[in-house]
Symmetry: C2
Subunit: 568 residues, 2 copies
């Protein structure tokens, strides 16, 4: 960003600026105060605050509040199920103008090609996408992903414009073991930034993990855990996602002494939450509701993220900063009335008002090499009298490991036990055409008849399906393949409802309102067949992720996460 | 800095660490608390805080406080009159292990060669020198310097290891005027950091200056000025130098809401102050004495500077951070008992205990091309009845402009008026052999007989001299030339006392105690001949700096700084 003589002249009040926002209550993230004044914008940047008069366009804010655009410090945008263009519309209208994202979902499906698709698409959009190179693709060696990223890929990504660091290093066991490839990835990012992901880590192991380079964490679920991480030098990202909500527990961490080391992130936010609740703005409102001083909440959603990631000229309303701004009426319940990107109006009243030019690149499809899938692929042979069962823990993404004596069908294979809510779970490898199908049992969905299937299954995104019988399971899995990605609800041989996710099998190209509506309908369809979970597809999507305790199923089999071993 | 498997193993407590500091009260700059524990150091870095046991060396701190080494956010090390090797001994023994320096003094004399000498020498020394590329060499076009640095030089310097940004942009009038070369320098540093220097700037002009890129300032002398600068996004460097002391005035700026945007700097500190008062540690102690909470004072002298300059792994006692540490006994009056650099003891009880290996590079000499200097060069012709006089303002570096009717000597030239304390002032160009001699009048030194001369004269460092008669002035100037740099006090035709400064005419190669002692003696000699100023050579050194109001003398003549024009 080069400074010009014209910019300086405008800042000195000697020439007309492009835009003047008058009568604003400006949230000042540097001194924590709110000041009344005019803000002048020229060449896409704030030239100053003061009694400016000369302007090509003047907007009287009439005492409304002017805030910096929010910066979301950590998210996987694929979790919105929205294509990058639609995602941008969704979050920009909420006041988010900076997004730090780890694209490990699409990377697990499409590798570098997927990351490049999003990086290149984002350049045409009126927000700043800061990409963290995914560090763990695949998440483990115990599953089959569509791609893997090496330390060489990390180095190559870090040279790309828009890539600012190494994404959450979920493989903390690999770090602690001193794994060569893991350390090579961290060392590739030695001169930039490494995000951490260390649920439950403390004491010596936390020291080692931080010492290795991970300088943030968004996985704290208890106040004590977060306190220790902050004390050891980590930025604490307070996460309020769709499945993981840590704000209420962690807010007491935020004090006069610590608030600069804390920021808000959404991690994974569903399209429904984006539509009905919001993005970072929803966290800000909730934090204020919980007692946080509004200016401090704004700081944690803007300048603190900029500082954590060494982002220049964003996160504040100040001279030289990009005019990425939002106007809100009520500072105690801030909702973006107007959003400006580089001084241009891009959203009004919660609606995006910018046009996305047609993407010149083809969207990357999902890979669905599953051959001719039939019920025979779902057979589960008993090896002993007892069989391990994944138990869903309501409201959390951890699971418990049960053991049960399952019923057998007429052919001697294990069957679902509907009375005891023990259903069949399958993970069908979709990338490599390996024919791998992991089959297991799960407790907690509660439905009596039918099946759910999805191509969103963290992090390898094979097809995951849960059902009461192999017939419905097969139909649901086939439906996902037919759509080349998506969610399906099946009952008694009939497809009841689907949401197509043609982009990498993870995302739709439809607008937020449409995707959220259909997403709501598939969820409702799942509940209609008796599912007792509030967010059945969200729960389902985490059952194949073998980095979160206690028991998971991948395409290669059941994984005891505590021991990192296949069982059963 | 690459992480190794051995480092991780040590951090996990599984192998011996190099050094274990037990029973420490650790100042935690992240949460503002003091915690009790052991700190383990391996491979020059902190591996962790906790109950470590296995160590090759154990030092029991017996409850003493463990702090990060201080980082001085802005200084001109040449002002200490110490060569870089001696300077390092002086400040390291005070707990300073990081120094951000603008080398514009030596650059004005020796150009790139001078900067390279210091950069290369610093690599052998146990502290971190972070160089800001000098932005204003020469400071103005109204004087003759030994070298000038172009925007091309800025670009070249910024590519060098150890150069982290563009030094204080003193030419704020040039910025405000949109001067092409000035903007080219700023734009060369667009992806790094630009330090500001904007005494008294406010409102529109401050916006313009900040918007152009200057993101810090160390020139605030009033609380209101500092408040405005901080609000507009500048880091406020609270300066406590030898001549400029702003701490007491600015300390009320530091609050729970603002302290992270404030840091301590020394700007110019004399050898005497380094010896008898201290470096950054002196500011910390004074701030605590004035009521600042000790941990916050330490934060402002360590992590805040690291954050302002995006310096990684310094400024804290935490895993992965360099083991740049100091031990103090009394947190309310912290003085470094022990100083560790990368885990090795480098100072104890205020004395450096490291050895400086012989420098392989020759030290750069001063340039003293003044020919055969005689009294005839000091003649001052009256052009009208009144003549402008520079009035020294005690305790400040600004001057006032007086007008007087001076007495004439027998040949019709202006003479000193000893009764009214109006002495003759001369600036003798020493670099280019131009023969330029600026001659003027100054009020405020107060001596009745004799002359002082010095080759330290900001920023071009020509020879500046003040005296009651041309004979003594000439002897003093000749003595500085004979020494090839230094300070001299002359009276009644006799050289009373000198301090030789052979390195660039600015610095001595002798140790701190010796330089400070002789520096004290030349000051005393000046007072012995009747000088009423507490720091006559410091005052003298600023009289040739035409960027500070109100009236200055360069080798090319008298400058009215308010209008930026030659007069008289």
């Amino acid at each position: 960003m080069n400074v010009t003589a014209a910019f300086i002249e405008a800042a000195r009040g000697l020439s007309h600026v492009d835009l003047l926002l008058t009568n604003a209550r400006i949230v000042n993230v540097f001194n924590g105060e709110i000041e009344h004044g005019n803000v002048a914008v020229h060449q896409g940047r704030v030239v100053g605050i003061g009694d400016y008069r000369l302007a090509r366009e003047i907007i009287d804010l009439d005492g409304r509040y002017l805030l910096p655009g929010y910066i979301n410090g950590h998210t996987h945008i694929e979790s919105s199920m929205l294509d990058i263009n639609r995602y941008a519309e969704a979050v920009i209208s909420r006041g988010t103008l900076g997004v730090v994202t780890d694209l490990h979902e699409i990377a697990n499906v499409c590798g570098m090609r997927g990351i490049e698709y999003i990086l290149d698409s984002a350049r045409r959009l009126p927000f700043s996408l800061f990409v963290m190179a995914p560090s763990c693709v695949p998440a483990t060696a115990m599953e089959t992903s569509g791609a893997s990223l090496s330390a060489g890929d990390t180095r190559s990504l870090l040279r790309r414009k828009g890539v600012i660091g190494l994404g959450e290093m979920m493989n903390f066991p690999g770090v602690l073991a001193g794994d060569g490839e893991v350390l090579a990835k961290i060392n590739a990012a030695a001169s930039s930034i490494v995000d951490g992901h260390a649920p439950g880590l403390g004491a010596f192991d936390l020291n080692a993990y931080i010492g290795a380079g991970a300088s943030s964490d968004h996985e704290s679920v208890s106040l004590e855990e977060a306190r220790e991480k902050l004390a050891r030098g980590m930025y604490v990202m307070i996460r309020e996602g769709s499945s993981e909500k840590n704000l209420e527990e962690l807010l007491p961490l935020v004090s006069d002494k610590t608030y600069k080391r804390c920021l808000f992130v959404v991690d994974d936010r569903s399209c429904a939450d984006l539509l009905y609740d919001g993005d970072v703005d929803a966290i800000v409102r909730k934090a204020i509701r919980l007692g946080l001083e509004p200016v401090r909440a704004v700081q944690m959603a803007s300048i603190n993220a900029a500082e954590r990631f060494d982002l220049k000229h964003v996160g504040a309303v100040a001279p030289g900063y990009y005019a990425d701004l939002q106007v809100v009426s009520d500072i105690n319940r801030p909702e973006a009335d107007l959003v400006f990107r580089r001084g241009r109006l891009v959203a009004r009243g919660g609606k995006a008002v910018f046009k996305v030019s047609q993407d010149v690149r083809p969207t990357p499809g999902g890979s669905f090499n599953v051959g001719d899938f039939g019920t025979e692929h779902l057979r589960l042979k008993p090896k002993s009298a007892v069989f391990p069962v994944i138990e869903v823990v309501p409201g959390q993404i951890i699971t418990r490991k049960l053991e049960t004596e399952p019923p057998l069908d007429g052919s001697g294979f294990i069957a679902a036990d509907i009375e005891r809510d023990i259903l069949k779970l399958a993970v069908v490898e979709r990338h490599a055409g390996s024919g791998n199908v992991g089959v297991g049992l799960v407790k907690g969905f509660g439905f009596k008849c039918g099946a759910l299937a999805s191509s969103v299954a963290h992090d390898s995104h094979n097809i995951v399906a849960v059902g009461t019988c192999d017939a419905d399971l097969t139909i649901a899995i086939r439906e996902v393949v037919r759509m080349q990605g998506g969610l399906a609800v099946v009952s008694q041989g009939r497809v009841l409802k689907t949401l197509a996710l043609p982009i990498a099998g993870l995302m739709s190209d439809r607008p937020l309102s449409e995707v959220a509506a259909v997403f709501g309908e598939v969820g409702q369809a799942a509940r209609d067949v008796g599912c007792v979970l509030a967010a059945p597809f969200a729960v389902l999507s985490f059952l194949a992720l073998p980095v979160i305790p206690e028991l998971r199923l991948t395409d290669r089999g059941l994984v005891d996460v505590n021991t990192f071993r296949f069982i059963g």
